[in-house]
């Protein structure tokens, strides 16, 4: 081969290779720039990432959420109202369900909830009640709302028992506010007082997590406030 031949071949090979490689890289870069501008994906698009949110468990049926939504949103929760919570009429007109069906909504919460019992005609929390409330409150997990459903037993007038159950619900609320100093507690706790008008509990609820099982009977179970975090999103 002439002396200049290898030089030419070498130069052409080297220049050709570096140019070819550079051009192919540039082509790849141009394609990447196009994808960057349009958002197109080269491969199978990755599955969408979920957004962090509260828990939503299986018992969050539409009926349950309807009641929850009413209590949380429509009864003054989170607003500027001084008085909060729902009374029996609010639930009876909205939910249009029977007493038993209403109580059955809370059956899945048997292990999660507590039933805080009160003395006859009283609304003060005893030590067992406070302990139970603190334990339930601390067991929040992924829940957003804390439900308080206060009742009164059959003895006494309807009006008297409605007010008594409201005071019982408020006792729970005041204790939680005082104990935890949570500035957003108003947005978390839903209060519902039923007096003796609606959804009375029967004796089988004494098997639940009650604060005084020794004095729990058909009357005693309704001198109570049912409390639980609720793992539902609204």
């Amino acid at each position: 081969m002439a002396k200049s031949g290898p030089i030419i071949v070498a130069f052409v090979a080297g220049a050709g290779l570096v140019s070819g490689a550079t051009l192919s890289v540039r082509g790849e870069m141009r394609a990447a720039k196009e994808r960057l501008a349009t958002g197109a994906t080269e491969e199978k698009p990755a599955s969408k990432i979920a957004t962090a949110d509260d828990a939503e468990l299986g018992y969050c049926t539409p009926e349950f959420k309807q009641v929850l939504a009413r209590v949380i949103h429509a009864c003054g929760l989170g607003g500027t109202d001084g008085r909060r919570g729902c009374q029996p009429g609010d639930i009876k007109t909205l939910a249009a369900i029977s007493d038993d069906e209403f109580n059955k909504l809370f059956t899945p919460l048997k292990e999660r909830a507590a039933v805080v019992m009160f003395n006859d005609g009283a609304d003060a929390l005893d030590d067992a009640a406070k302990k139970a409330l603190n334990e339930r409150w601390d067991d929040r997990k992924g829940a957003r709302y804390f439900f308080v459903v206060a009742r009164a037993s059959k003895s006494g007038t309807v009006d008297m028992n409605r007010k008594l159950s409201q005071r019982r619900a408020n006792s729970v609320m005041f204790h939680l506010a005082d104990q935890y100093k949570d500035p957003e507690i108003d947005k978390k706790v839903g209060l519902l007082w039923l007096g003796n008008e609606f959804a009375q509990l029967d004796k089988e609820y004494c098997a639940w997590n009650v604060t005084h099982p020794e004095r729990c009977d058909a009357e005693g179970i309704n001198r109570s406030a049912f409390v639980s975090w609720v793992d539902c999103r609204l």
Partner: protein, 431 residues
């Protein structure tokens, strides 16, 4: 024999080495360039350059691509200029040079052979350095990189053999010339010495071919500036008084200047979290950061936002960190979790939580009672709730510079450039 080595084998090895190095470097550069769209792509990382990667075979390559050693000028250009691109240019030069030596045969000057051999030391030394960094800093090798190391070695060997053969050729020719037989002296005419000034020319050409493509690359990198910092801010950021999260010193070296407040949301058993942690450390950022760690284990036993155990055992390790924090050991637990990650995941999957607890207790005695307390679970829930309050993605890791969320796309290749844009006072370590 040495004549044959000098004539064919040495330049042949050099040519093969240069071609192989070019192929691997080109494949690596294409993989790198593909990621300029801020997406994750499969890597064509293998011993045969250009073929599709086998599942899981690209882990070493991905670690290499995202490492601080994969590119230069990472603070000037998003993703930097890949080192492999310089290799493309250099190996292209060596292909040409080796072909010249191969085709010229005895017409190639001594100077050319010597220069080729000496220049071939360069890629070999660089490969040794990169192999050392892979072994000691990354703990893994990528197949394409190994291909480049092997090719550089072939190139070097070819160059070395060429120089050795040159010395023996010269000796043989001298002896032959001293012989009275005229025919022999005519058949093995000595090589020309060659002009010394040409060496400078070859060096300049090597420099130009190595740098030229890199220059073209830097000029054509897409503009990422609009995307950086576009991934939102914390709606409810942590405050100084906030008791959520753990302020940790995540590095043994502490910088002397003011530190930038940063929140890092991690899962102790998340490989991406480990990789980000190591990148931040390698770049020298961790020592300049005032880091608050929030734990977000992707384990359904404590995290209601995941419907399966993505990283089983992560809840236990998160609780271990929380319990170790008052003793000033939370950072150590995290580092240990990262170091032992594969073993911990396997233990949790195959032997269950009890075995994992035992393993944690063995390495960090005195934590197990605290890990079972309700207060510990509550602290972990507060960290999870932080994600809910801020509507964050259910993924880890997440890095927040102050209140600003760094996009996931900017936490690997574009890490140095993005941080420089968002927080100029954070300086990357120079290598």
């Amino acid at each position: 024999m040495w004549n044959r080595i000098g004539r064919w084998i040495a330049p042949g090895l050099m040519t093969l080495g240069a071609l192989g190095g070019l192929a691997f470097a080109w494949s690596s550069t294409l993989d790198y360039s593909r990621h300029l769209d801020r997406q994750v792509h499969d890597l064509r990382c293998g011993f045969v350059p250009g073929l599709a990667a086998a599942p899981g075979a690209d882990e070493g390559c991905r670690a290499a691509i995202y490492s601080p050693y994969a590119a230069l000028f990472r603070d000037r250009v998003w993703g930097g200029v890949p080192v492999s691109l310089f290799a493309v240019g250099a190996f292209s030069f060596f292909v040409g040079f080796a072909l010249y030596l191969l085709l010229s045969g005895r017409n190639a000057s001594k100077q050319a052979v010597r220069t080729g051999g000496l220049l071939a030391v360069g890629p070999f030394v660089v490969s040794l350095v990169m192999a050392y960094l892979s072994a000691t800093r990354l703990g893994t090798f990528c197949k394409t990189c190994m291909g480049i190391y092997f090719s550089s070695t072939l190139l070097f060997l070819g160059g070395l053999l060429g120089i050795l053969a040159l010395r023996r050729e010269t000796t043989f020719i001298d002896l032959a010339a001293a012989d009275a037989s005229g025919a022999r002296a005519r058949d093995e005419a000595p090589r020309a010495e060659g002009q010394a000034a040409l060496v400078l020319g070859w060096l300049a050409l090597l420099g130009a071919t190595a740098v030229g493509p890199a220059f073209a690359y830097a000029r054509n990198v897409p503009n990422h500036d609009e995307k950086i910092g576009s991934c939102g801010t914390l709606a409810k950021p942590l405050t100084e008084k906030s008791e959520i999260g753990m302020k940790l010193a995540l590095t043994r070296v502490t910088g002397s200047g003011p530190r930038t407040p940063v929140t890092l949301m991690v899962d102790p058993l998340c490989p991406s979290c480990r990789a980000l942690h190591r990148r931040l450390d390698a770049e020298g950022f961790l020592e300049q950061m005032d880091t608050t760690v929030l734990l977000f284990p992707l384990d359904s036993s404590c995290n209601w936002m995941v419907d399966r155990d993505v990283h089983p055992g992560a809840c236990l390790l998160a609780k271990a960190m929380i319990c170790a924090h008052p003793k000033g050991q939370a950072g150590q637990v995290l580092e240990w979790s990262y170091d032992q990650q594969e073993h911990l995941l396997t233990t949790a999957k195959t032997q269950g939580g009890k075995s994992l607890e035992g393993y944690i207790e063995g390495s960090f005695p005195g934590l197990s009672a605290c890990m079972k307390e309700k207060a510990t679970g509550k602290k972990l829930e507060e960290m999870l709730r932080f994600a809910v309050e801020n509507r964050l993605p259910v993924s880890t890791p997440q890095l927040f510079l102050g209140e600003l969320r760094m996009c996931d796309e900017d936490t690997d290749m574009g890490l140095v450039y993005s941080i420089r844009k968002l927080v100029p006072q954070l300086k990357a370590r120079s290598f």
